[in-house]
Subunit: 142 residues, 2 copies
DNA sequence: CAACAAAAAGCAACACTGTTGCAAAATTGT
DNA sequence: ACAATTTTGCAACAGTGTTGCTTTTTGTTG
């Protein structure tokens, strides 16, 4: 069972041509439990790809519903793999995100659904993002 | 009733010296229902202050608990006035934020408290941020 | 109100993030 | 294997935020 196959299939499934950068970036997401920022990818890819290529690849993946963006308090966009229910052009990203203040990783808590929130009259929400901040499972161990 | 008095009192109360830029920036926050990003302030202040001064003033205000930062999906930090319960060094910012996709304003929904969220074992949250996205009260009017 | 120490503003320079246009290279379908 | 289309890499640029240093302003004290 080769990982290369997984990424290739994934790309084919989304009607994307198979390129070295797309495979590499997708692989990074697959072997990473948490989320990745553009900067992380640049480092982990090992100076192999142009910054612009990474930006464009991330954009493409978001559009295709392969990854989704995660809002954060500090000013950096992070990305994580979508788990199944996302399609091209529309994300169904209803889980809570967790940012660890110790290891600085961001995790998708796929099992924790964002709660319904009663808004004041006049406000109509199309999407609700919940970001929890604290100490993650791994950092909490003794 | 002069607005100048409000801002001066506010600054004095927080043991900050009274300067033109602090007064101006504080005033902008007071006459604005929503949140402001650094860029907004730069524009509204009318080219009068140095960019660096604005950054430093915002930093100072956050530290003193006068304003708080608001996370956003797009990559820009916004700030809004704290309503009372914040002190120097510690914010008690437990309300929901609303980003309007039409007018692009951000509002603090002070009456909507962030719900308690049950996290998986091992995760310990110190803070939970909720950002709702959609159409705001003002844009929803016919 | 003048003089002084402390604080803040302004300026220059820099680092980081993200975008755009265009030419060269790689990928796909035939 | 070839041609058309995509994607990449490069260069240049815009926006955001930071740091160090000098000048100006503020608050205080006599």
């Amino acid at each position: 069972m080769t990982r290369a196959h997984d990424t290739r299939d994934m790309l084919r499934k989304n009607k994307l041509s198979i390129t070295a950068s797309r495979e590499k970036i997708l692989q990074l997401f697959m072997e990473q439990p948490g989320a990745l920022a553009h900067g992380d990818i640049e480092k982990k890819a090992g100076e192999k790809f142009d910054r612009v290529t990474i930006y464009r690849t991330l954009q493409t993946f978001v559009e295709k519903g392969i990854i989704h963006t995660i809002p954060s308090a500090d000013n950096s966009v992070r990305y994580a793999l979508c788990k199944g229910e996302c399609e091209e052009g529309h994300h169904h990203d209803h889980h809570v995100h967790f940012v660890c203040t110790r290891c600085n990783n961001t995790y998708c808590l796929d099992d924790v659904v964002t709660p319904a929130i009663k808004l004041p009259g006049g406000y109509a929400a199309s999407q609700i993002e919940v970001v929890a901040e604290g100490i993650c499972k791994l950092c909490n161990k003794p």
